[in-house]
Structure formats: C-alpha cells, structure tokens
Amino acid sequence: MKARVTVMLKKGVLDPQGQAIAHALGALGFEGVGEVRQGKVIEIELDESNAARAEATVRRMAEELLANTVIETYRVEILPDEAG
C-alpha cells in the first residue's frame, strides 16, 4: 500500500518561495495569477494491507517528522495499489 503526504505551509505563514513563483509566472506573461503556495509531496510505500491502519501510521509519521506542525499542515491520502 502506498501513502501520499502533502505538506503545505499554514495559511498566514509567509511563503517567500510561493511569492517568487507567482512573480516569475507574471514575468513569463501568465495573467490572472493570484496567490501561489509551494509545498511538498512525500510518497511512502508501506507493508500494510489495511487502509485505516496505514492512514493511522502515516498520520503519526507526519506528526513526528514529515511536517513541522508549528508552521505546516499536512494531508494524508492512501493510494490504491497500482494494477499489475
């Protein structure tokens, strides 16, 4: 089973990298770009077949290491096994 954790800076925390991306998009001529936020995606393969247990484990991973909850939020998705 595979899990995907998406980590984003909390709303209200300054995101200078997101701002730089927004600025660069404007410089490239893209119009109508509002706020841009940059985060990170972490995919984890787990030796676990129960989705609920997998999610509980990955949430603990996120709390302890993957996200710094002082400044970041995270979202956990359990991905269906790939066919084949």
């Binding site: 925390v13 300054l14 200078p16 730089a20 290491l65 993957l66 710094n68 002082v70």
Partner: protein
C-alpha cells in the same frame, strides 16, 4: 566547565565552536550524533552550525530525531544548558526545545555577512557578560533563518524576556527582528548569528567572545 559539541553529518562549525569554548576555559568533548549517551558531568551541550543531513526535509529536522538528541532533550529537561547556533537553532526548534520555527529567508537569498544586533537581556548565562541594550556585530550565514511563531508565542517570549538578541537591520524577515530566543528557564539559547566566528581579533571581530566567557564564568559561579 565541561561542554559537549554535537557533530552531525554536514555540521561545519563544530570545530570553531569547540575552539571558542576552549578559549573561554571549557573542556570540550565532541559527540557523534549516533552516540546514545552524553558524557557524564556535563554542564553544556552545544549544537553547531552547518547543514546537518543536507538540510533534507526541513533544516534540522532529521538531526532533531537522531539518537543523541533524545539525550539532549532529557538533559535540557533536567535543567541542563543547551546552546544552538544557526543550524543548531533549527535543530532546537525541530526538537521542541525552543518555540517557533525557522523558515526560508524572506528575500530567498542565502545571507552571508556581518549584521548588527542588540543584546536584549543580560539575565541569561549566555548574555551576562554583555550590557543590556549593547549593540554588537556578528556574522550570519544562512538560507533559512527567518524566525516565525504565532502572535501569542511571540508576545509570551517578549513578556518573559526570552528574546536574547534582536537584529538592528533584519536580514531575513524574522518576526519582530528576533535573532535569538531562550527557553522559559533561560538555559536553552538558540540564535542564528555565529558568535563562535567572532572570538579572535585576527579574523576581525571579537564581539562573540563575551558570550563564551560569560557562560563559562556563570557556570563556575553556579
């Protein structure tokens, strides 16, 4: 005074920090991150600058979960003194020994220059050899030194006199110009500027020397 300087893969200020402590009269032991015990009879754990574990995931995040840091958290909990400089400050926030977090510099650039600071309190063993409000200059060298915490935490730090140093010309966007903060008991200090790089007139600046001299003197009196 007996001090331990931690060494992680990617630490690069560890020997400078040991040198600065030794010049002030401390006996220093280097401690590898995989060690599971601190030397006995220790007065201070010092966490150096650098790029521990390549700054992977978040600066200081991997180091904060290394075996030796479990001991450092226990040491601090028992009233031990812990000094974290630059990457060491990031490790201390990631380990939960200091509040807040250090994020990417507001200007996005790596900032490497000497900055002016104001000593905001002399009521800590780290700042007791300075005078209150004294202006000093120390080098900074970091990409992620932008100190952030929620408003309530910042208010608490101010009210409790836990802002040790403040930037006079904020180089990185830190909230309320904060360059260094202490724990509630004043024994854990994290700061982004590098006092250990300013202890010898030969390299142009000795403004960092009183931090180490004061610390060793405070420990001797304790």
């Amino acid at each position: 005074m007996r001090a331990a300087v931690l060494v992680f893969p990617g630490s690069n200020c560890d020997r400078d920090l040991a040198e600065a402590l030794e010049r002030a009269g401390a006996r220093v032991t280097m401690v590898w991150h995989k060690d599971s015990e601190l030397p006995a009879g220790l007065d201070l754990v010092a966490i150096p600058g650098g790029f521990s574990f390549g700054d992977y995931l978040r600066c200081g995040a991997i180091a904060a979960h290394s075996p030796i840091m479990r001991e450092v958290v226990r040491f601090a909990g028992a009233g031990g003194h812990v000094l974290g400089i630059c990457n060491g400050f990031q490790v201390l926030t990631e380990a939960g020994l200091l509040p807040g977090a250090l994020i990417r510099n507001a200007g996005l650039k790596f900032v490497c220059r000497t900055v002016r600071l104001r000593v905001e309190t002399t009521a800590t063993p780290y700042t007791c050899a300075y005078s209150e409000g004294q202006e000093i200059a120390l080098p900074v060298a970091h990409h992620d030194g932008n100190y952030q915490a929620d408003e309530a935490t910042l208010d608490l730090l101010e009210a409790e006199g836990r802002v040790a140093f403040r930037y006079l010309d904020n180089p990185n966007g830190s909230a309320r110009d904060i360059a260094g903060v202490t724990s509630a008991n004043g024994r854990v200090l994290g700061m982004m500027p590098h006092p250990e790089r300013a202890v010898d007139a030969l390299t142009g600046n000795t403004d960092g020397a009183p931090l180490f001299a004061g610390l060793v003197a405070a420990m001797a009196d304790a």
